[in-house]
């Protein structure tokens, strides 16, 4: 089948948040009319600051959270019309904190076997063989398969989470900050493992991270999110070479590479942090934008690859 692996159209997700005892309920627009597609075999990196809607986007794509509007097509199909087991064979998540997502009372081999058992109709010996094969691929031994999550290091637990996600051989994996809780040395191990598995198993990845250097290393395409919208999207090399949105530029400027003598750059963003329940008029980035002009406070940038009034000039 040709066509994109993931296609997202006009996706919107709103949360209603209680305003406290006397306050009125407020609406948080976590994902605001987002459209994009990821080609088969591609790696889309999604970056942006805390609270910009990355995880919400991931959860809606995975079908874990219904959208308020819009739709998600995974290999051309809507997940909500799909049988749970078929969905599990198609798309799987890997989250930031493997400890929270691994049942502490089950052994590693049973945790990785669960998705296979949930499929039904796979014999015990085959389940066992496939579990051990997958654990081997992620670099865990048969001895470690008998342990409990608490008896493994953070990096080993993330390997377990990856093995569990891949044991059904899904074609698409959504990674939400898979290395953010890990040391650089362990992060490198996990990134290398993901790169190798992606090639061997021909995976499509959506890779969320707040670390631009990590995204630069893994992604073929990058989407920069700000307050629920993708404000810049493009092929990774081009975007890193010539970022066009001022927010993308600030993000790139903030990457502190281990090169002494360069000091810490002035990223030029103010302190006013955005409130997703109160999205600014005009360009939503204008209160923090170092190059904003008066019209940025009133005119809404056209939707497109770079959502900045100045980029359109």
């Amino acid at each position: 089948m040709s066509g994109p692996a993931i296609e997202v159209r006009g996706l919107r997700r709103v949360f209603r948040v209680g305003g406290g005892l006397l306050g009125r309920d407020r609406e948080v627009v976590a994902v605001d009319d987002v459209s994009f597609s990821v080609p088969k075999g591609g790696v889309l990196g999604v970056v942006g600051e805390s609270g910009c809607g990355k995880s919400t986007l991931a959860r809606v794509i995975l079908g874990l959270l219904p959208p308020t509007a819009g739709e998600v097509l995974v290999e051309g199909q809507r997940l909500d019309t799909m049988d749970r087991r078929a969905r599990a064979r198609l798309i799987q998540p890997v989250f930031q904190d493997p400890f929270a997502s691994l049942n502490p009372r089950r052994r590693i081999r049973d945790i990785v076997a669960m998705p296979l058992e949930a499929q039904g109709g796979i014999g015990r010996r085959e389940v066992e063989a496939r579990v051990l094969e997958m654990l081997g691929r992620v670099g865990l031994s048969a001895e470690q398969a008998g342990r409990y999550p608490a008896q493994l290091s953070g990096g080993q637990r993330q390997r377990v989470a990856i093995a569990r996600a891949l044991v059904l051989r899904p074609r698409i994996v959504i990674c939400d900050e898979p290395t953010s809780a890990l040391d650089v040395s362990v992060q490198a191990q996990i990134l290398n493992l993901l790169a190798q598995l992606r090639r061997e198993l021909d995976l499509t990845l959506l890779f969320i991270s707040h670390n631009l250097a990590v995204v630069e290393h893994v992604a073929t395409e990058v989407a920069v999110m700000y307050l629920g919208r993708i404000v810049e999207r493009g092929e990774a090399d081009a975007l890193f070479r010539a970022p066009r949105h001022p927010y993308t530029r600030a993000l790139l400027a903030s990457v502190l590479t281990p090169e002494p003598g360069l000091g810490v750059p002035d990223v030029g963003l103010g302190d006013i942090l955005p409130d997703p329940a109160n999205i600014p008029p005009g360009c939503r980035f204008h209160p923090r934008c170092p190059v904003a002009e008066p019209r940025c406070a009133t005119d809404v940038p056209q939707r497109g690859a770079v959502e900045c009034l100045l980029a359109a000039d």
Binding site: V184, S185, Q196, H217, P258, E259, P260, L262
Partner: protein, 340 residues
Amino acid sequence: MASDRGAPQARSVNRPPPEAKSLLEIEGLRVTFGQTAAVRGASFSVARGETHCVVGESGCGKSVTALAVMDLLVQGAQRSADRLQFGGEDLLTLPAKRMAALRGDRMAMIFQEPMTSLNPAYTIGSQMAEVFTRHRGGGRAAALERAAGLLGRVGITAPGMRLGQFPHQLSGGLRQRVMIAMALMCDPELLIADEPTTALDVTVQAQILRLLAELQRDLGLAILLITHDLGIVARIADKVSVMYAGEVVESGATAPIFAAPSHPYTRGLLRCVPVPGKVKRDELLGSIPGVVPRIPPGFVGCGFRDRCEHAVAGCAAPVPRQNAGGGHEYLCRLAPGWAA
């Protein structure tokens, strides 16, 4: 280097003699928790006006080192050292009461998660004022005035309004600025910052680090900054101590450490960091196999040997501290120049 600068504010109490080279001197620091030797003979010093970074993976003893200096270790931890001096005071023999008077006054500390050290039930203003009146006495009004001035100094707009706010009403970046301002209330000589930007967004991290660098320049502060991020180290440290399994395995001025990293651990760590434009997509990053081991008391030999690609049988015996010149040292059997 920066020792000639000195703090601009006149300080009447406990001014150390001018010949004292370093403000903080740590020699042979050891901390054990039962069967875990968390710090095993760490030595380094921090001079006035200098930023000294301690860097290493999770669990290698960075926070315990800082807590040992501040005498804030949990009960049951055992601390010893050959020397532990701060501004002419011997911290090993200093009575607990005088140590408590130093903390928050001449030496202040900020942590990764400001919410753990801010009390959610009190306003920013009353918490900042309390620090000042506890150490320096005086009235609350004067303390609040100083607090407002410092909030402005750390880049917070409308400081008067912020004084009346509660911690949860501020963003993470603002809270960390408040923590820095609070640490400056008593005009400290040493600021210990334990992963002060790890919980923050990258853009906010850059702002906070610039602020720390600027404060240090203007106030002549000595900063001991703990981080696991070699990017931060490269950009703001004057001196570096790389810690591994409770030991300082490599130390020296920042430029030579990055130009000629000599301990296999430092070299391994540097290879793990993805740097835009350096390692091509789908090419493998360098990595260090395994994880930081838990080391029991009485352990002998190089603590890195079970992860080191250069390990030989001799690494199980004590290894020498090699001198690479210009104050650059590392703890390894391999002689200087081996990596060239």
